[in-house]
């Protein structure tokens, strides 16, 4: 894992060269199609002396690396090369991390399985016939298969939490504005967040601390000071936890119920399943509208940019929702749902510190899985938008609300399905209270690892090393 590896390098037990060579070799030979590009120069790079010196990291391919093309899983970016590292990449490099390559993702982040990537889909590390989750599919798969201990991703409606849950790693979406978006190819600018994947909460907390902080180059980045997340993990607290009841697969429900019981969580009834689905629908309206605008730059040189089907569909939807379909009022309703989500969560989180719920209704599905049909209440936004929602829209049900409200959220692995697939528990906190979210995840991690050492609870067996 990242911090342990950095310590081993500092002690001279491992060399940067050997670590880099192994990571590059494994990235190249992996059958997962996690990587869009592996940087051969990673093995002879002079790394600054920092706390992550020599630790190999991977970066979602929608995040700029100087002099490289961030494809964002698309052909539309062409051969354009980034002028500079994205803010988060620069911060990791300053800490001595060794960026070994870029990872595949759903095209411009628009997908929840990794399958819209125009460079081919990434496969699930535990079952090659399954989807690793998206859109940060390659980053999740690369960390889960231990090619790298840390990776950057981005989460717009669930794009870090979902693949983290399905692949069985920790994935953190920080508060909107906590990490600069400079150098991230925009999808839905009002909810896009850069975040991290790691194999432990400690690693995730440490990496988040490195990339968080104000950036003059992003007007939405916060001035709020960054606490030492790592040291705050071990502070004993009385964090009040509440769990949200939702309709999910039985396997998922029992894992999350286990987590809920272990933390003696209260029930939170203020967020109904229909409201969460409306949040997901609202997210899709706003995201389509912003995507149509953000991706317009790829039209400037092409009449019809070589977008894939899903991106084409969402961009066209956004254009219509702001244009000829504006009169239907869907955009305004989505803005309204967002305001409601913010108000309700403000209210709920005034009496509890963190919320707990599943990340997705199912564990990792088979590739090319059929769409899930849901019953939506009459008059709900989700119902009125039904024909315009993506096929895999059900995967966003449980994550989009936190994106809409801009709250910090993460997925921490806490068990498996009867079929052995990882299940993640989602923890959502107050704005800029990543510390409480990470601390809760750390408690779950300790409970899980405790259970692992007790022979009676083999059911929770994970393949963590």
């Amino acid at each position: 894992m990242a911090l342990a590896l950095a310590a081993a390098i500092r002690r001279g037990e491992r060399t940067c060269l050997a670590v880099a060579e192994e990571a590059v070799r494994r990235a190249r030979t992996s059958k997962l199609n996690a990587f869009a590009r592996v940087d051969a120069t990673a093995t002879n790079r002079k790394l600054p002396d920092g706390p992550l010196r020599g630790v190999p990291v991977a970066v979602k391919d929608s995040i700029c690396i100087k002099d490289e093309t961030p494809t964002a899983g698309s052909r539309a970016v062409g051969s354009w090369k980034a002028r500079e590292d994205a803010f988060a990449v620069a911060r990791l490099r300053e800490a001595g991390a060794n960026v070994i390559g870029s990872t595949n993702c759903d095209e411009f982040g628009m997908g929840s399985t990794g399958e819209t990537c125009q460079r081919g889909f990434t496969r699930h590390p535990l079952d090659l016939r399954r989807a690793p989750g998206g859109s940060s599919s390659g980053s999740a798969a690369a960390v889960a298969s231990s090619i790298v201990p840390l990776a950057l991703g981005s989460d717009t409606g669930g794009s870090i939490r979902l693949p983290a849950a399905w692949c069985g790693v920790v994935g953190v979406k920080p508060t909107y504005g906590r990490v600069s978006r400079r150098g991230l190819l925009a999808y839905c600018s009002s909810t896009d967040c850069v975040g991290v994947f790691a194999r432990s909460v400690e690693d995730a907390a440490f990496a988040l601390g490195l990339i968080a902080g104000h950036d003059d180059g992003d007007a939405t980045s916060s001035q709020e000071c960054v606490p030492d997340y790592l040291s705050m993990l071990s502070i004993p607290t009385n964090d009040r936890v509440a769990s949200i009841n939702v309709e999910v697969d039985d396997d998922i429900e029992s894992v999350v119920a286990g987590a809920s019981n272990a933390l003696k969580a209260d029930q939170c009834d203020a967020l109904s399943p229909q409201f969460l689905r409306d949040c997901a629908a609202a997210y899709h309206v706003l995201a389509a509208a912003e995507a149509h605008s953000n991706l317009a730059r790829y039209h400037v040189n092409h009449e019809n940019p070589p977008f894939g089907a899903e991106v084409t569909r969402r961009v066209a939807l956004g254009k219509r929702l702001l244009g000829e379909r504006h009169a239907e009022g869907l955009y305004e309703r989505a803005v309204d749902v967002r305001a409601q989500a913010r108000a309700r969560l403000d209210d709920v989180l005034s009496s509890v510190d963190v919320l707990m719920l599943p990340v997705a209704p199912t564990a990792a599905p088979k590739l090319n899985a059929p769409s899930v049909i849901t019953k939506e209440a009459r008059g709900s936004l989700a119902r009125d938008l039904r024909d315009d929602l993506p096929r895999d829209y059900a995967n966003d049900f449980l994550t989009a609300f936190a994106s809409l409200a801009g709250l910090p959220a993460l997925s921490v692995p806490f068990g498996r399905t009867s079929g052995g697939l990882p299940v993640g528990v989602q923890v959502v906190g107050k704005a800029f209270d990543e510390a409480a979210v990470l601390r809760t995840a750390r408690r779950l991690e300790l409970i899980r690892d405790d259970a692992l050492s007790s022979p009676a609870r083999r059911v929770l067996l994970s393949e963590d090393d």
């Binding site: 354009w80 190819l185 925009a186 009002s190 180059g217 992003d218 007007a219 912003e290 149509h292 400037v300």
Partner: protein, 475 residues
């Protein structure tokens, strides 16, 4: 297409016939003013209208992937200054940005950052003589790239203020007068350099005609880049529309250009319905509390052309001369000369006459003190008008001051009787034939002899006294 044909058919008619006066012109103006900020609106590039193409660009103003705009605070400050100078009653308390989404090659991001929901300011006015032209709104936005033989992104992202009037203007002349006044307002408050020829001020005009209060379709005239173009294009368009209606045709809503002699149909960017607006998610709303507190309204009012005209009139000018000086940016110079003791009207006549004839721009060597001294010397009779004119080019170079230059060049008027009789004696000596003929009765020759005397005196002698000396010598 049809429009093209009609326009062609109208050409001949327009040259020979004026439209009947039953139609009332309705003109509204939209001006784009480049704000004089040290950086572009959303990046650190330094704006320039003269730098080689694509040398003032970065990832942000090129709209590269992963780039983010960061709003400068200079643009809203200058925008607010202009708004106060335009007498705007409503100033926004929060700066809000929107995106205007449309595809055009000069728009690198595929959208323009603008203000669609809440303009920076509303409800202003500009006075043109005794007419009040209402300003609807002033909002900020970013400029697009410029299409020349190459697509030049130096202009992309430069901060603009778009100023929109109500349809209060009634003729091409009035429209041009408005633009000139607006130019003065934004220039004098420091918001823009506002040079039309550099595109720092660009004018679009909406023109329609009404008859008996009936509102008719309007056309938009784009890119009128001189006051003359504004005047001529408006008048042409008003006549064209009136003639179309007279001949039973209608006016199409369209965008027209001006080629110097007629309006023509431009390739359109698409009607207003094609624009899709959305809030700009990259730029959070910015409270303007601090900027508003910083605004010195009294000081800004003092910068306006109307205040300048007031000062000129107070110094003793008639209002017409005051306007002329203000339009030519000569008012401050004149007032300084008046402060140095010069007579206001006389100085103004010199400035607008002899000085302007010599050069369109005042050289730094020519100071208000010089003008005051020059006008003073003429008034005191120590310098003839002719000598003063002779001295002017000297004052446009490095010089010693008016008094010293008069002395050095011997330009002072001489009243001395010996000086006069000396010149007369020389001329009579050199012109024996003319003198003889004069004495024989050809009295017309006095004029010739007087001319020679004047020339010899090089303007230093009082013509009357010199004449008397000549007459005496000829007796």
């Amino acid at each position: 297409m049809l429009q093209r044909v009609i326009t062609a058919r109208l050409q001949a008619v327009l040259r020979t016939r004026r439209a009947s006066s039953g139609f009332r012109p309705v003109i509204g103006i939209e001006c784009h003013v480049q704000l004089n900020t040290p950086t572009k609106a959303f990046c650190r590039c330094a704006p320039s209208t003269t730098a080689p193409p694509n040398t003032r660009v970065c990832g942000v103003c090129l709209g590269e992937p992963g780039s983010l705009p960061v709003a400068s605070t200079d643009a809203p400050l200058l925008g607010l200054k202009a708004a106060v100078a335009l007498d705007c009653d409503e100033l926004a308390e929060t700066l809000e940005w929107d995106r205007k989404n449309y595809q055009y090659p000069d728009l690198p991001k595929g959208y323009q950052i603008t203000q669609a929901r809440t303009p920076l300011a509303r409800s202003g006015k500009v006075q043109i003589d005794d007419r009040t032209i209402r300003i609807t709104s002033l909002h900020l936005e970013e400029d697009s790239a410029k299409t020349t033989d190459v697509l030049d992104h130096n202009r992309a992202g430069i901060a603009l203020a778009e100023i929109v009037t109500e349809p209060d203007l009634r003729s091409g002349t009035e429209a041009a007068a408005f633009v000139r006044e607006l130019q003065q307002v934004v220039k004098r408050c420091g918001a823009s350099r506002a040079r039309l020829e550099h595109g720092e001020l660009r004018v679009d005009v909406n023109v329609s005609v009404t008859q008996e209060g009936e509102v008719r379709e309007r056309v938009e005239l784009k890119n009128l880049n001189s006051l003359r173009a504004v005047r001529l294009a408006c008048d042409f368009e008003l006549r064209r529309q009136a003639l179309l209606y007279e001949s039973g045709d209608t006016v199409q809503r369209e965008t027209l250009g001006w080629n110097g002699s007629e309006t023509y149909v431009m390739r359109d960017k698409g009607g207003a319905a094609e624009y899709r607006f959305s809030p700009e998610p990259d730029l959070p709303p910015l409270p303007l509390t601090e900027a508003l507190a910083q605004l010195d309204r009294v000081q800004i009012e003092e910068t306006t052309p109307r205040a300048a005209r007031r000062r000129c009139v107070a110094a003793g000018l008639d209002s017409e001369t005051a306007s002329l000086l203000v339009d030519r940016d000569l008012d401050a110079f004149l007032l300084e000369a008046v402060d140095s003791g010069a007579d206001a009207m006389t100085s103004a006549r010199w400035l607008l006459g002899e000085v302007a004839a010599l050069s369109t721009e005042l050289p730094s060597s020519f100071t208000p003190r010089d003008l005051a001294d020059l006008v003073g010397a003429v008034a005191a009779g120590t310098l003839s008008r002719r000598s003063a004119k002779e001295l002017l080019p000297v004052l446009f170079q490095e010089h010693l001051g008016v008094a010293a230059e008069i002395e050095k060049r011997g330009l002072a008027r001489v009243d001395d009787a010996d000086f006069m009789s000396g010149i007369v004696a020389e001329i009579i000596d050199e012109s024996p034939d003319e003198v003889a003929l004069f004495r024989a009765g050809k009295t017309k020759l006095r004029k010739v002899l007087m001319g020679r005397c004047m020339k010899r005196a090089r303007g230093r002698a009082d013509p009357k006294k010199l004449g008397e000396a000549l007459d005496e010598a000829l007796l």
